[in-house]
Symmetry: C2
Subunit: 265 residues, 2 copies
């Protein structure tokens, strides 16, 4: 909470030119830190920015957690890595000198199952940014606001082709029998750290995984749906566009085996 501000000419502020990561830190221990930093590095490569580096990241996370008085509990840490200060216009100064802002807040309390509605705001499958965690997050803000205005907890976002993509701040999964589905990256989907854990471990509870391009009708036979991100872990979906969904024993099994990695506290 003691992080400094940024100058008015920061390109993260002016243009959304930068990246971020949000991760859970339990009693000072960052969860899945390597996966978060790897994704940040890939974002830097895509945007043409220097990388943050693991040493500096670890030090800043520890500083932010301590400054917020959260070293003995569960914290949500955000790393913001902007492309730095620049002159007027779109062209970035070369070389770019990124700016780091790292802050910590109390981790959100566990949330109940989510009610989802399909929103009008589409995911931009035609931009590399749709596979990255960038500061240009307004479409997600608008999708969430639309969902809230319609009395739901989260948004189901399609892309411009009509493919299923994701929630406003989570990856999306659904279960049909012993098959587990999630939208493929080409649909405009973030490479979520919990998404990767679920895909890696689903076989242990007898689920076969499929990364697919599928439209809204593919959810009709879904017996269970859930959302994933670093702070909520796996969150079941209770309702989709007003229709109730079950949870299913396989989802409970999957949540049980993933829990130690996601909420060790």
């Amino acid at each position: 909470m003691t992080a400094p501000g940024v100058p008015w000419d920061d390109r993260g502020l002016l243009l959304g030119d930068g990246l971020f990561e949000t991760l859970r830190v339990d009693r000072g221990r960052p969860l899945e830190l390597a996966a978060h930093l790897d994704r940040l590095d890939r974002g830097c490569d895509a945007l043409g920015l220097p990388q943050l580096g693991p040493g500096r990241a670890a030090a800043e996370i520890a500083r932010a957690v301590a400054a917020a008085g959260l070293a003995e509990t569960a914290a949500a840490v955000r790393i913001t890595w902007t492309s730095g200060s620049g002159g007027r216009g779109l062209d970035r100064p070369q070389p770019a000198t990124p700016r780091l802002v790292c802050t910590a807040a109390p981790a959100p309390p566990p949330q109940g199952p989510a009610a989802l509605v399909t929103v009008g705001v589409r995911r931009n499958e035609g931009s590399p940014a749709s596979r990255l965690k960038t500061l240009a997050y307004l479409d997600n803000v608008l999708a969430r606001a639309e969902a809230r205005a319609r009395g739901a907890d989260e948004a189901l976002m399609l892309n411009n082709r009509g493919d299923l993509a994701c929630a406003s701040a989570a990856n999306l999964f659904w279960i049909v029998g012993d098959q587990l589905f999630t939208p493929a990256f080409e649909c405009g989907v973030l490479d979520g750290t919990v998404r990767a854990i679920v895909l890696a471990r689903a076989g242990e509870v007898g689920l076969r995984v499929h990364q697919v391009r599928a439209d809204r009708s593919a959810l009709a036979p879904a017996e269970a749906m859930f959302l994933t991100n670093s702070l909520i872990g796996l969150r079941p979906v209770s309702h989709l566009d007003g229709e109730a969904l079950g949870a299913g024993s396989r989802l409970a099994d999957l949540m049980a085996i993933c829990k130690p990695a996601l909420e060790p506290g």
Copy 2:
């Protein structure tokens, strides 16, 4: 140049949740101010933000121009209107308390004709933000960078359907005979202030205007192309994907009648 910074928890910085306007100010006189503020107001309505208001806008523009020592020359003024500070996550505090940053820089010098290349980054026609001037401008930054890397001045952006949309920081027009074409808003196009002037005045030089949904092949018969924005006015396109384009007498006529409104100095 004396504008303050913004706090680390500004949602414009963290999420691209906000709007901006860039306008030309000639010897202290803002050009097309009403049109810019009207667009900003419409953006506020779409994002659910309070409006800036004309009195505060005029005062801040004057302050920024004076502070930059540009009261006797041509300035480029940027108004940044973020959704203000907020807690962690996508949900905006209610009511939102926007934050204003207004800065001035010397107006860019006149530029020669632009070489365009068609880039891979697509415009998101499925988001209302594609018709607004928002802080989530990273796709445009990526499009411009791709164009620069390929030796061009500007990007020709298509949307996900393959429709012609715009340049990275300008609207797009083309001329075939006595017909003037520009992509329709539904293609994911900003309601540009100079775009509106061109559409309103083209008839005076014998051009019939069409706002269209058209794919890349529609440019094959183009005799001339040009870009528009508040700082460059009308900028001819010299090359498209390596092929030379003419200028044409109608474009010269159009530039002549629009010039007094755009560069009175």
